[in-house]
């Protein structure tokens, strides 16, 4: 299963944050490391799509004061999700192999 660009980033962020991966923490992680302009709305629709594809699964977390006593929806990457990330990273790696000199140093 091929992954969209943002889907890939969201999956990676969830993996990094686990088990504390939920809407705002995922958005902040991506904003801090890759895409400063990413919005919550975009993250939500990606999460919804990933859930429909069976690449992530959600469970309800505990409420906290800073959220006004509201609970979190925590996400974890499913087995299929890990497989999809692995595949797409693999593809990236194999396609970019040997290109580093041509791309220049970042």
């Amino acid at each position: 299963m091929s992954l969209g660009d943002l889907e890939q980033l969201v999956l990676l962020a969830i993996l990094r944050l686990s088990p504390e991966a939920y809407g705002i923490s995922v958005q902040q992680e991506i904003a801090a490391r890759a895409r400063p302009e990413v919005t919550l709305g975009a993250v939500y629709s990606t999460l919804t799509r990933l859930e429909q594809k069976g690449l992530v699964s959600a469970k309800i977390g505990p409420p906290t004061r800073v959220r006004g006593g509201r609970r979190k929806k925590l996400y974890i990457v499913t087995g299929a999700g890990r497989e999809a990330v692995r595949e797409s990273l693999q593809a990236l790696r194999s396609l970019s192999r040997g290109l580093t000199p041509r791309l220049g140093t970042p």
């Binding site: 809407g23 992680e29 919005t39 919550l40 939500y44 004061r65 609970r71």
Partner: protein
Amino acid sequence: MTRLGPTDYRAPHRLARLLIALRVPAEEREFVKGDLDEGMALVRQERGRWIALVWYARQLTSLLVNRRIAAASSPSLSSQASRNELSMPTLFDLRMALRSLRRAPLFSTLVMFTLVIGIGATLAVFNVVYSALLAPPPYPDPDRLVVLWERSSAGEKENIGWLTGTDISKETRSFSSVAMISYWGPIARFGEHARQLNGIRVSHTYFRTLGVRPLIGRDFTPEEDQSVATRRVAILSFALWRSLYGGDTSIVGKSASINGVPYLIAGVMPKGFRDVFTPLTEIWGPLGYSPDYVPACRTCRHLRAIARLRPEVSLTAARQELDVFQQSLKSRHPTEYASVGMTVPTLQTETGGRFKPSLLGLLGAVTLLLALACINVGNLFLGRSGEKHQDLVIRMALGADRGRLLGLVSLEALILALSGGGLGALVGWYGSRKLLTLQSIPPALADGASPLVPMIGIALLASVVAALIGGSLPALLTLRESALQEIRVGTRSVSNRLRHRLRHGIVIAEVALAVILLASAGLQVRTLRHALSVDPGFDPAGVTTTAISLVGPQYDSAGSTRTFYRNLLGGVEAIPGVEAAAVVNQLPLGGNFDASGVHREDRTQPNPELDPSAQRFAVSPGYFDAMRIALLRGRPITPADREGSDPVAWLNRSGATRIFGTDDPIGKRIKMGGMDGPWYTVVGIVEDVRHLSLDGEIENQMYLPFDQNQYEESALTLVTRGRGEVRAFEPGVSAAIKRLDPGAATSAMSMNEVVRRQLGARRLALSLIGGFAVIALILALGGLFGVVSASVTERLREIGVRSALGATPGRLIRMVAAQGLGLVLAGTAIGIGGMLAARGIMTRFVVGVSPGDPLNFVGVAGLLGLVAMMAMIVPAVRASRVDPLTVMRSE
């Protein structure tokens, strides 16, 4: 990630909660709200409150435009069901429209900018007009408040004397209370600093009549209003109280030094309170008139009067009663009334009426600007629709629903229009605050009464109209044609021709509106220049004026103020650089209007009230020299014209002719004011002086020596003419005053400044209309530029062929320019026609120049033509450089 403390939580805004409730499925809301709040708290901690607010708004928007968060089944565009569902613009469309606008930032900015200017300016002016003309005065039951004027035999409104007002209050039954008002410019001293305040003296019934009470402290009492001795008490405006005492409530009941004597501060008015005739009044004091007080006489017509109608009395009944009552006054005091009844307008008519013409003129100008802005938005959209055209055509060819496409394009226009309208409303609100605080727009009574509903209405209406013209019309033009036909005939389709015609019409309309605004601005410039070129009758350059107020027990004895001024002039004339110095009781153009009746000895009337009146100037010997007022006949004032010697007087040129006709006034004797004063022999004629305004009629004027004045003047103005810088000898002047009386309150201003202030309102009108005209010019030329460049782009092939067939660059430039010039000429002709048609209305706003003035039109047309040329140079030169080969190849 930063850790947050448990106290960082803040509840989301109500609007945010509502939007989330609308767009996020119930089962997801808790998590979404939680995420938003947590994120907001984080950003606020790291980057501050404002960034956090922006962040919040952005995330919220992203939630709304991203399709439903938990949409289990994404609706497919091809299914019939979803197509029906989507025939109304949806949030998906909204997102599409936003994206499309973001891709054309210049276009979006231009549209917004145009709307913000048009709507902002309109609302600012509308708000002022509303507060001044339409809003009821901000007092309880404002429709029961009336103004009382005596009616002169010529039908004019005249102020009333105190005894007349008192009689009305005692002997008529129509009013629950009556109050009289006199101007007061006390000089207050606070520490080292002395300042002249805007004040009025009022009857103790004044605030009761208006129906207001002081915020803290108390109202004036009848006892305080009894005599000059008891009236040393004042009520402050909220603003004055805040600026002088920092809002210290304990100041009430204490005393302040006003005009050099202690005054008791009785109270402070509420924050929003604005006075009836002089909204910027800072201080009120009791009138303190009594029947034996000289200025209280029936013929001393210097007071304004307001009254409150009893609840059961109609305005008509009150007018009838007053007319009858005035007749009875006249029969009781036959030599003291010339008037034939009373004029009783409502307070609202009275305060609004004075400013009606100029404000309505401004409203007219700004309405033209708004129309121009809307049309210009239409033009911008039409220009863009050329680009969007192919896009729409392709979408239609792919089976897109026409209604939906129309909705989409209109949605773009609506987004821009509404955001432009919203911003414009803010700008307008801010602008009207600024305008209302300007002193030159005095009747800003309705401080708290913001016409919110009509304002929003105007903004909304203008936005929607602009959106319809701009968005839907071009889209309709495109959609009229079938998609296939469009592609076949390429760019030269029927809809294209229509669009061109529409754009040409728009440019013509824009030019016409710009011509009208430019011509109006031109007329305002000429009016102002006329006012400035008027010879005021004196030479203000180099003259410093110093208002001096002498109050205190040392001035109670007769002749003491004369001793003061004589000593003062001696001191001032000794200052190096001073050429001439004098004192006068009222300064020309200084806002005073002290006038009294003039009675000829050789032609007495049974009723002296029917004699003419003249402005009365009491002056010291150097006055004509200091002001450079030309002595036309007779002799100047000398130090010998003093108390005890024969009383003498001077008349101005127009006054002498009006009062004496063909008789020679020199040597004749006159009385001034009441008939109990001495006879004055006319010994000279001087040039007319502009006293009330620069562009009004010249009134009768008479001068008498300060020493022969019947009144002790406690307030006088020192005029000093000096060589070189006006400011240079000012310290010397104020030191001379301080040497004589350290407690004398003074306030200095150059005579040029006095004249300049006279023109404040005209300058404001000019700068507003001028500003509108410049904006109009820019908009019209932007439209012209757009049309001409688009036309060059579309005619590239034709131009290429012409060039290949040997057309010279000059010829091509002429061809392009001719098309643009045709539009400019048509617009100019229509604009001038409009101006000529509105000549009757325009006459009211101009002085010294005819609204149909050909020179003005020539100037406007010339300016427009010149700038139009500049707008067309770029596209025309581009046309001349077209390479035929490139054009052919690109086809």
